[in-house]
């Protein structure tokens, strides 16, 4: 029951904040991708940096259960899938989370995105047995690896002997700096 309450609270907070930062507006996503309005890129890079610093600091001082981490496996399909997602992301200005939340805010084009998404997910369900035979899902780079070793987890380290917590904190700070120095746009206005 506690889990369901947490799902409600964190889920609602996530949806609320996605809308507040402008992520439910495909115009901002397209601006991030065509480099003419980096508002969302600055927001996202900062969010990743902040969450990374807090997460790894929390792990170091012992307030986060390492079992809460969930690192996904690396395989060629991650890259291919990323490329496919990028194509649809650019056409529509939506990704799975922002598409659903945009539909909830009343954007009709996002509702069509969500319908297409349900069909695309069903198509993947149907083709999964075949995809498995292609080797696209075979693990690479240690599978569910992280950059360094994170205490209390069994995730293999990409760079052996390096503290995963400190890598996370340093990279997190680097992302915060990048977010603050990124300009408002990279492609100048005509």
């Amino acid at each position: 029951m506690t889990t369901i309450i947490l799902a409600l609270v964190i889920g609602a907070a996530f949806g609320f904040v996605l809308d507040r930062v402008g992520a439910t507006n495909p115009g901002y996503i397209i601006g991030m991708l065509n480099l003419k309005n980096l508002h969302l890129m600055k927001t996202i890079v900062l969010a990743i940096g902040v969450a990374s610093v807090l997460t790894f600091t929390g792990l170091l001082i012992g307030i986060i259960d390492p079992g809460h981490l969930s690192v996904k496996a690396a395989y060629i399909g991650v890259f291919v899938g990323g490329i496919l997602l990028g194509v649809g992301f650019a056409i529509s200005g939506y990704c799975p989370g922002t598409g659903l939340t945009a539909a909830a805010t009343g954007r009709k084009d996002a509702m069509f995105f969500a319908l297409g998404g349900l069909l695309g997910a069903a198509a993947y369900m149907g083709s999964y047995a075949w995809v498995e035979t292609t080797g696209l899902l075979d693990k690479i780079m240690g599978g569910d690896s992280t950059l360094g070793t994170i205490a209390g987890t069994t995730y293999p380290a990409l760079i052996e002997g390096v503290s995963g917590e400190w890598v996370g904190i340093v990279l997190g700070i680097a992302l915060i700096v990048i977010a603050s120095v990124l300009p408002a746009r990279l492609i100048p206005a005509k």
Partner: protein, 186 residues
């Protein structure tokens, strides 16, 4: 809307951190599969069945729902699970936020201004393309095993190798294509 990316990024980062602190990293795209499974199970009771042999206690004739000991099959059979409730709550949160800021302006409801500037005002043309894009995005996300939230954000937060691979792939196609498609500004 939060106009400052510094404030927005901080708040968004805190939500991602809270998720890891309290439960698990945020992810969304799996729930498209779970919802498909729920619909399938509603019309075909054999889509997901209880199975003493499966690790999760549930099995499906579909190889994807059946993978990892039937963990997706179990979620389909029990929609009141963390991941699915999270996404439903996410929709409610976004709807409340939009309501509080007075809703999405009428012209924006069919398409963003940048689409109108480049491709005209026909809503059905926009709907067709967002439908196709949704198909590609979710097929890709499921192939990758995660999306912008699960791989790009939660993945890079945890310094996951897969998160970086995914992010490189997504921007490698997304940036050039968006530059090509949207030459005129809104």
């Amino acid at each position: 809307m939060i106009k400052s990316s510094a404030v927005g990024g901080l708040v968004l980062g805190l939500v991602f951190f809270a998720a890891v602190l309290l439960v698990q990293p945020i992810g969304v795209s799996t729930q498209f599969v779970i919802f498909d499974g729920i619909l399938w199970d509603a019309v075909d009771p054999d889509a997901v069945v209880e199975s003493a042999d499966a690790k999760s206690g549930y099995a499906s004739p579909n190889a994807y729902l059946n993978k990892s000991g039937g963990k997706y099959a179990k979620d389909v059979a029990n929609p009141l699970n963390y991941g699915f409730v999270f996404v439903v709550a996410m929709l409610i949160g976004a709807a409340i936020s939009a309501k509080l800021r007075g809703g999405v302006p009428t012209g924006e409801r069919t398409m963003p201004a940048v689409w109108r500037a480049n491709y005209g005002d026909n809503p059905w043309k926009r709907y067709l393309w967002t439908f196709i894009a949704g198909f590609i995005v979710l097929y890709g996300a499921r192939l990758a095993g995660g999306c912008t939230s699960g791989h790009m954000m939660s993945g890079m937060i945890q310094t996951a190798t897969s998160g970086y691979i995914f992010t490189i792939g997504a921007f490698l196609s997304g940036i050039p294509l968006a530059i090509y498609l949207f030459k005129k500004e809104a």
